[in-house]
Amino acid sequence: MTESNIIMKCKAYDKAAFKELVRVYSPGLMSVCKRYMGNKYDAEDMLQETFIKVFQNIMTYEETGSFRAWLNKIAATTCLKEIRKNYLIADLEIDEMEADMGADYIVLNDETGIMKIIEELQMPYRLVFNLFVIEGFSHQEISLLLGVGESTSRTQLSRARKMIKELVLKYNVQLIA
């Protein structure tokens, strides 16, 4: 079943299409959730929440953009909402200025290792790193989403990059462009 078929049949309340939707997109969305939540159990909860939201809102989906991007966005916002609920904003405010690490890094290649590194990042850094690097938000948008200052966002991103370098060395992950 193609993507457009799944969407069309879901809009027609076809239960099989909903099942197919979950089957096709759950691995990718699970990865997104795990990136944000940092552990499997919270990610599973968020995955369920994400699909429930998708079920409720798929009637309003207009096939103008990428369906996968639309799903990822729902997953990200669901996780973000949960994180904001469980973590105080104060925890995200870490006034710690760090210099940018620069472009010197070891060239390694290990997909599993990269995902493990992201998940092992501490909460504020992981969040900012995901939003800035993976999702492509600007620091201004991140500051609005998380309710922190732009400078804090920049600081935390720098800190995240520094931690990533340390973890890359720790796990001997190969980064190959």
Binding site: Y13, S26, F55, M59, E111, I114, M115, I118, I134, G136
Partner: protein, 467 residues
């Protein structure tokens, strides 16, 4: 974005994680949306359809079963016309009238029913079969058993529905004229027809050639001479006598002094409202009626007037106590002066007696031969008003006063409400209504900008008699 970021972005976006799909689907399956709206619509549609079918069937059998049972008593009664289902609709009056008009003016448009009638009537002339002879019908039609009516008569005057129904609503004089014109003098021997005693209650059609217009009194179809409880268009001679009681709420407005206004609103409380009146009602359209009459009402309010009186007080009392060196106490008497504040609350009863002319328009949204339910709205013109009152004075003595209309209802009162009418015998019906009325009185003695607004909710019970 540096190279490390690009690698992380690319890997993360394309990364997938293994999921326990079966477990996930078990959790998600109950959340799959269903077509709830369709089922709701189906139920609504089925309910409405069911109610409609039941209503139509009830009406159909309610009306025509009584006719059939009445006619069934006469074993040799001639059946003329068929029970045309097209007259069972809600516009039965119009259809019957139109059918009647067709019968009078378009005899060439004879349809199968009328042909059937004429054929049967023709046979009744040609044969001596008593089954094809016209005779007295169950509705008291005085056509006797051996009176035969010519085919021409049927062709010209009978519409395409029940013979027993149409006969009794024909006007005797009209039929006589028509028969004279069309059938000649020798046919006048057959012109013994039922005289509709209620023809003056029927709606006249605007056809100048007709002295009195045939009108189907719907309720006569039942086989008993019921007169509709609703007044006919051309009759004013129905009298409604009613009386009722209600509760009032008073509020002053338009006062410049807000404190005084607040005090007045706190002080005066609306009490009961009594009214008695009579009116007559006329039908002005299919469901519309206008009602005009006279009403006498009494409206009571209570004023709790709290006032304070300050009086100077002078008295002889101990003014000083002196204890000397030996410890002996001495009291010095002298004159003391001061003020005494007396607060009294007096209760005033005020009675507004008023004669009014209420005019209401009613819209009947439900009616049947015995019931009518209508909404109403209208205004009340004040004709005369007087206020009297009584109060307890400071000593608690009941005193009366009479004032020459310190207030006057110089503005229209508006009202709206609902009424039900139930016909319980030939000429009488019970009438109940619940009305909310807004009365406004302007204070004219002394002149002020105060308006006393009375909102009255009252319930009336009445009796309507049709003359």
């Amino acid at each position: 974005m540096d190279k490390q970021d690009k690698i992380f972005k690319e890997v993360a976006r394309n990364h997938t994680t293994e999921v326990d799909f079966d477990g996930l689907w078990v959790t998600l399956e109950p959340h799959v949306p269903k077509r709830k709206n369709d089922k709701k619509l189906l139920w609504v549609w089925m309910s409405i359809s069911g109610l409609l079918i039941i209503s139509v069937l009830t009406w159909y059998f309610g009306i025509y079963k009584s006719i059939d049972s009445n006619q069934g008593d006469n074993s040799n009664e001639m059946l003329v016309g068929d029970q045309s289902p097209d007259i069972h609709g809600k516009n039965i009056d119009d259809q019957l009238i139109n059918s009647t008009k067709d019968a009078f003016y378009t005899s060439e448009n004879s349809n199968s029913s009328r042909n059937s009638v004429s054929r049967m009537a023709q046979e009744s002339q040609n044969t001596s079969n008593p089954d094809f002879q016209l005779h007295e019908t169950s509705v008291g039609n005085p056509l006797t058993k051996n009176q035969q009516v010519s085919t021409d008569y049927y062709n010209q005057y009978l519409p395409n529905f029940r013979f027993s129904t149409i006969i009794h609503v024909f006007d005797e004089e009209l039929i006589s004229d028509k028969i004279s014109d069309n059938l000649g003098d020798e046919k006048q021997t057959n012109e013994i027809f039922y005289v509709d005693e209620n023809q003056d209650k029927h709606i006249p059609l605007s056809i100048p050639s007709l002295k009195s217009t045939p009108f189907i009194d719907l309720h006569s179809i039942r086989g008993e001479k019921e007169i509709t409880i609703l007044p006919a268009r051309n009759r004013w001679f129905n009298l409604l006598i009613y009386s009722g009681i209600g509760k009032t709420w008073i509020k002053y407005t338009n006062q410049n002094d807000a404190k005084l206004l607040q005090k007045m609103n706190q002080a005066e409380v609306g009490k009961e409202y009594l009214n008695i009146g009579l009116s007559t009602e006329k039908k002005i359209a299919q469901r519309w009626y206008i009602n005009v009459g006279l009403r006498f009402g009494r409206l009571v309010s209570v004023i709790h007037n709290t006032s304070s009186i300050v009086n100077p007080v002078i008295s002889q009392d101990i003014t000083e106590i002196i204890i000397d060196s030996l410890g002996i106490e001495r009291l010095i008497y002298g004159q003391k002066s001061g003020y005494q504040i007396m607060t009294t609350t007096s209760t005033w009863f005020t009675y507004h007696y008023q004669l009014e002319l209420p005019v209401t328009v009613k819209y009947s949204f439900y009616s049947n031969p015995r019931y009518r339910v209508a909404v109403l709205g209208g205004f009340t013109l004040p004709i005369w008003m007087n206020s009297t009152g009584s109060y307890y004075d400071v000593e608690g003595i009941w005193k009366k006063f009479s004032e020459s209309s310190p207030f006057i209802a110089n503005k229209l009162s508006w009202m709206y409400g609902m009424e039900c009418e139930w016909k319980f015998n030939q000429n009488g019906s019970i009438h109940t209504s619940i009305v909310n009325e807004s009365k406004k009185y302007s204070l004219i003695q002394p002149p002020s900008k105060s308006d006393k607004n009375n909102s009255i909710l009252y319930f009336n019970l009445g009796y309507r008699h049709h003359f």
